[in-house]
């Protein structure tokens, strides 16, 4: 079953004596919703990069569903990521000039020249599900809340086993932030996917199963979410 385990993961960068990430053991159960909190500079983005295979840790294992992605080649990690991880970022990472539908389809288009109608259908369903009804609208003409909802639809398009979100609500107003939080939680649950969210948003963190706090690259405290369990 999907889920991830980080074992003895360290990340060092040139010029710094201590590791920027040092996690002896962190386990995220399948379908679990985990919030990672912590001050800026704690290594949250580095953790995201390691979790999603964007970066390789200096040492340690990152085991997703039995596959240690730290041992995969760069191309292998790209391929793995495209199949298994949906990314949602603070500044959306949408491509201006393209429509909402094109943005949702673009990652898959990068791997397949011809996208069949099932892919289009799924993209339209997802867009409608996140409340975007004008699929042909250029993303740069949308509100920030709408943009992030398009990004959520894109993250789920390939049917990933996990969704990783980096401050998904940080650049949104309160109302949009709540909408996006709800959509992230609902859609990942519907898809049966694991959700890892890095956030300062207490409301969003509170809706997670568990919160861990990252301080100087180390897990400071871990435990059940103070909020309700599912």
């Amino acid at each position: 079953m999907p889920g991830v385990r980080l074992l003895n993961v360290t990340m060092r960068v040139a010029g710094l004596t201590g590791p920027v990430i040092d996690i002896p053991d962190l386990k995220v159960a399948p379908k679990e919703r985990l919030a990672v909190m912590g001050p800026s500079g704690a290594g949250k983005t580095t953790l995201i990069n390691i979790l999603t295979g964007l970066d390789r840790p200096t040492s340690g294992q990152v085991i997703w569903d039995g596959v240690d992605i730290a041992r995969l080649s760069e191309a292998g990690r790209d391929g793995w990521r495209s199949r298994n991880v949906g990314l949602v970022l603070q500044d959306f990472g949408l491509f201006d000039g393209l429509t909402a539908l094109e943005n949702v389809l673009l990652p898959q288009q990068m791997r397949r020249l011809h996208l069949g109608s099932p892919a289009h259908e799924r993209a339209r369903d997802l867009l409608s599900r996140v409340g975007i009804h004008r699929h042909g609208q250029k993303v740069e003409t949308m509100s920030r809340g709408e943009m992030q909802r398009v990004a959520v639809a894109r993250a789920l398009q390939a049917g990933p086993q996990a969704v990783v979100a980096d401050e998904p609500t940080a650049s949104l107003d309160a109302g949009s932030a709540r909408d996006v939080s709800d959509l992230l939680i609902d859609l990942t649950r519907e898809a049966g996917a694991t959700l890892v969210v890095i956030t300062h948003d207490v409301g969003l963190a509170g809706a997670m199963d568990r919160i861990v706090t990252l301080k100087r690259g180390r897990i400071d405290a871990a435990g059940a979410s103070p909020a309700v369990s599912p």
């Binding site: 970066d55 760069e74 790209d78 990521r81 990472g93 201006d96 393209l98 990652p107 288009q109």
Partner: protein, 429 residues
Amino acid sequence: MIALRFILVDLRRHWIGSLAVVCLIAGASALGIAVDLQERALRIGSARAAERFDLVIGAPGSDTQLVLSSVFLQPSPLTLLPGSVLARISADPRVAMAAPVGFGDSFNGMPVVGTIAAFVTDGGRAPLAEGRPFGTITEAVVGADSPLVLGDQVKPIHGLPGEGGQTHRELSYAIVGRMAKTGTPWDRAILVPIEGVWTIHGMSHPHEHHADESGGSAEHDHDHDERSGAVSTEPNDPPIGDRHLGPPWTDPPGVPAVIVKAKTIADAYRLRSEYRTEATLAVFPAEVLTRLFATLGDIRLILGAIAFATQGLVGGAIVLVSVVHLSQRRRQLAMLRALGAPRTAIVALVWAELMLLVATGVALGVGLGFLGAKLFAIWLSGASGIVGPVILTGQDLALVLSLLGIAAAIALVPALVAYRQTAASGLRS
């Protein structure tokens, strides 16, 4: 095709830069194409113009000038070849046709050239477009591009085209025929009987057709004074329209050049060496043209090198621009990688975007080069009468393909820069 839209969106976003790159490429490739096209057009055009002229015999002097004057009707005063030489060539059994050409007059800027009727039809090989060859001394045939129509009267002006001079009152010609298009300066010429030119310039011997009865012409006093003029007033002269035209001439006046068609190629070579004497000059126009084109070829080589260097500079500029552009797109491309795009797709995107610009530029450049060569050819044809066919051949295709091939290799540079970028690097803002 979303990837293509992705490329087009990026190009539209940077449309000024894209346009500049396309224009640079178009300009550089147009230069190369135009040089090739024009050189080819000139070569084919002049070779075509020289086709009718197997061997040109004239008075000693510059062989280039002889060819330029007789084949390309370039106005210039040539020393006259004695009439005796013309008579001898005409009578030579190895000669199929010996056509004297006499210049010196013009009408409305069109050169009036005296020759024989057989030359007008190239010995029957080149039928007229309309009308018939001249049959009397007062008739003329015009070139295909002449604005004159059949029935027009022409009073030549003494002097070469553009020089101006006094109108000849001695003779006027009626246009009776029009030659087919040849693509040579002759298309603008007015061809008249050589006897007409002789008459107008007072070189005609009044009794030339009675020479046999009067026991030879040796004792006749040749009237070479141009100003004496009034040849047709001699009482014994037959009416001007009844005079016999063309060879055989007895004791003809001098001519600037004689165009000779030999019966065989061997004869042509023999005639050429026989008439290369101190008194005469014999050249194959082709050999003079070959020498001219060797010079022209050097110029082409220089122009080609300039075009090539320009293309190289443009190529370098484009690499620079695209690498700068790439650094602006770093985040965007990293985002694509983060979303799972393989590196090969990123390379393909960057490469395809550049190649799209290059291909557009080269296509425009071919069009521009073609247009430029065409315009130059039109100007050249207006100025010289030589119609150079501007045609695209496989050679140009090869040039275009090699341009695209080099561009494809150059475009790999930024593409590989993009390849080396790690997926995580661009996401850190």
